[in-house]
């Protein structure tokens, strides 16, 4: 194998350097190193327990970790913590700050990471470090192309010795493989195989930069689901929803498929014919997720399942076709989350507290873009000021804040997005991160200021839209949009409108007269109940005055109607109406006076009724006639 040859040459080169160059950081010695490498999925997880001793005479405050450059370029995630416990009681403290360094007089093709010890390591002291590293794309398919019926074999390469700038006294390495065939592995002295685990070591007293390449060739039918790009949009609506939309561009990153694909074979024996295919993906969504959808450019994809309980919502999605090596697909999932689970207020500022990465299980993401969108906000300058973002690992007690030294830096910028009911777009904060593994799926916070009144922007926009419609109607009914202002028909129309207006005024006056009549009737009823003649007389007086005014108002209108030629048809009816009303008015007055007179003379109730009965009949008949006339005029 060419790559392995390269590796050995590289190792030889390192050995030479290690022998030639005088050790620079010889103060520290690793008294014990235990490495464990988990190759059970496509993501390579690596843990190492280092027992560091200071044999020098000065306080040491940083420890260097070395990775061959070939591994370092695949390194997605690295944390180091101090293990303070002894024996079974292992207590890991917070993650230590790590930075990439390139010290002088060091061999090339090795990347260094400097771990800062907060308290330092005094001469003669020792401490235990827990290193956790995650690598992506570290398993090379070999052969690179397989048919549908073949199993997928991969190669993993590393060093049997711990690559370190310090001398190592005792070390051991164990590699955990999936429960399947081991094709071949590099055999050194002290190499043991227990089931699916290969153990190298223990090796003793090795100098700095010792390197012995090993290769393990084994069967791994785990689906290599690899998202080339995931775009995650988190949209906050202060009306009670956090909407998440995730666009995936997925590729099967394992051994390329060659030859034909037989759907029949795959359906009949999926575990043999297509063992390494991606058949489904599982996403663990937060609890109370609702309105979940799964679609692509064509439309809805129906092969999905959803389970939910109080702790999580589990979504299982099947792509439109089983995915073999090198095959691609693109799809979108979306879901809504209740606002109160993710948005909080603290010291006058609001903040969003949500997980950064995709909820997919065991997915490697080459490029993750997270967009946070606000609704009901105008721009950054006015209301989103000052925005600051920080990444925090939220610890169980929420006690420590390591926002300054972020475990993983991200690219960040701001833009705007136009969505529904927007004028000048919504503010968007965009975060970009490459090479993302599930370990990156931590909570992050976005702090911002928000004015509650800006929630009213959308309703106000709708209201003004409707109001504009009404104003348009008002303008339309008022506007005179005829072209020829001198034509006969236009003038006739104009006159007719004047007549209509006059008639409506006449009608309203008559209506007021009728209302006054009703008032008089009411005063009579009051009289029969209370016997208060004075009140009744007063009512009569006001009614008299009112009716006089009304008849005065009526005069010019009638004169206008008489003079107007276009009113000639309707005029008799109007005159008739006015006459009838006058008669009615007189009858009502007579009745009123009769009743009041009778009361003043203290006549018996029956007597009054008899006297008024005839008048009452006539009044009723007249009222009916007036009503009929009004209706007739209305219809014209």
């Amino acid at each position: 194998m060419e790559t392995e040859m390269g590796f050995s040459r590289f190792a030889l080169f390192l050995f030479t350097i290690a022998l030639l160059s005088s050790p620079v950081l010889s103060d520290l010695v690793l008294s014990k190193v235990d490495r464990r490498i988990y190759l059970t999925s496509q993501i390579v997880r690596y843990t190492a327990t280092l027992r560091v001793e200071n044999e020098g005479s000065e306080l040491v405050s940083e420890v260097l970790l070395a990775f061959p450059e070939l591994q370092a370029k695949n390194l997605a995630y690295l944390t180091v913590s101090v293990n303070e416990g002894k024996g079974k009681q292992k207590v890991s403290t917070d993650d230590l700050p790590i930075e990439v360094v390139s010290p002088k007089n060091m061999p090339p093709a090795v990347s260094f990471y400097s771990v800062t010890l907060p308290k330092g390591l005094a001469p003669g002291d020792s401490l235990t470090l827990d290193v956790m590293a995650v690598f992506t794309h570290a398993l090379q398919p070999f052969p690179e192309k397989i048919t549908q019926a073949d199993i997928q074999l991969v190669v993993f390469q590393d060093s049997a010795y711990y690559l370190s700038p310090y001398a190592v006294k005792v070390q051991s390495l164990s590699v955990k493989l999936p429960e399947a065939r081991i094709e071949s592995y590099t055999k050194l002295e002290n190499t043991k195989v227990h089931g699916s685990e290969i153990k190298y070591g223990p090796h003793e007293d090795l100098p700095a930069f010792s390197y012995s390449p090993i290769g393990i060739h084994f069967e791994s039918n785990q689906p290599f689901s690899n998202a080339q790009e995931v775009e995650r949009e988190i949209e906050i609506s202060h009306w009670g929803n956090v909407q998440i939309t995730e666009h995936y561009k997925l590729i099967h990153g394992g051994a390329q498929s060659k030859g034909e694909f037989s759907r029949l074979d795959f359906q009949a024996r999926p575990n043999v014919r297509g063992a390494s295919a991606i058949r489904y993906l599982v996403a663990t969504l937060p609890p109370r997720a609702h309105s979940v959808y799964y679609r692509d450019e064509i439309g809805n994809i129906s092969t999905s399942h959803l389970w939910s309980d109080s702790k999580k919502t589990e979504l299982l999605i099947e792509p439109r076709y089983p995915m073999f090596g090198g095959w691609r697909t693109a799809f979108t999932i979306g879901y809504g989350l209740p606002l109160q689970d993710f948005l909080f207020q603290s010291e006058g500022k609001r903040f969003l507290n949500i997980t950064l990465s995709s909820p997919m299980v065991e997915l490697v993401i080459d490029k993750l873009i997270v967009k946070v969108v606000w609704s009901g906000k105008s721009s950054f300058s006015s209301s989103l000021d000052p925005v600051f973002l920080c990444f925090q690992v939220v610890l169980p007690e929420g006690s420590k804040d390591i926002s300054v030294s972020t475990p993983f830096p991200v690219k960040q910028w701001q833009e705007t997005k136009i969505s529904h009911l927007d004028i000048d777009g919504r503010p968007v904060v965009v975060l970009e991160k490459t090479n993302v593994v599930p370990e990156h799926n931590k909570y992050f916070q976005v702090y911002y200021k928000f004015n509650k009144l800006s929630m009213l922007r959308e309703p106000l926009m709708l209201i003004s839209g409707f109001f504009f419609l009404f104003v348009a109607c008002i303008v339309y009914t008022r506007a005179d949009i005829s072209i020829s202002k001198s034509s006969a028909s236009y003038l006739a129309k104009q006159q007719w409108e004047e007549v209509q207006a006059a008639i409506q005024q006449v009608e309203s006056i008559i209506n007021r007269c009728l209302a006054t009549h009703d008032k008089l009737e009411a005063s009579l009823r009051d009289l029969s109940r209370t016997g208060d003649v004075q009140a009744c007389k007063a009512a009569r007086k006001t009614a008299d005055g009112l009716l006089k005014d009304l008849s005065k108002e009526l005069k010019p209108l009638l004169a206008f109607l008489q003079s107007s030629p276009s009113a000639s048809q309707i005029l008799p009816k109007v005159e008739d109406l006015v006459a009838k009303e006058k008669e009615l008015q007189e009858r009502v007055m007579t009745k009123h006076s009769t009743v009041v007179d009778a009361y003043e003379r203290k006549s018996a109730g029956k007597d009054i009724e008899n006297r008024v009965a005839l008048q009452q009949q006539k009044i009723t008949a007249l009222k009916q006639e007036v009503d009929d006339l009004m209706e007739y005029i209305d219809e014209i």
Binding site: W239, L343, S375, K452, P459, S464, C473, E497, Q500, Q505
Partner: protein
């Protein structure tokens, strides 16, 4: 100070009811506006009355359609 969760000013469960109620009121007021427009003659129509009816109708229709959008899942 412990962070306080933030919820919508109007409970989500009320959105459909509010949408129906406010749209109904809004449509009734709109109807009265158009009846007035159609029946009163051009000369003795009152602008103030038209504008107030229109404003009341648009407030109800505006909030009604907002809640309709929210209850339909379009979180504006």
């Amino acid at each position: 100070m412990a962070p306080k969760p933030i919820a919508s000013p109007v409970p989500d469960a009320w959105y459909p009811t509010l949408a129906v109620f406010m749209l109904a009121v809004g449509l009734v007021v709109t109807a009265s506006f158009f009846i007035y427009e159609a029946t009163s003659s051009r000369r003795n129509r009152s602008l103030a009355k038209e504008l107030t009816t229109g404003a009341v109708a648009s407030v109800f229709l505006g909030f009604g359609s907002l809640f309709l959008l929210l209850s339909a899942g379009v979180y504006v």
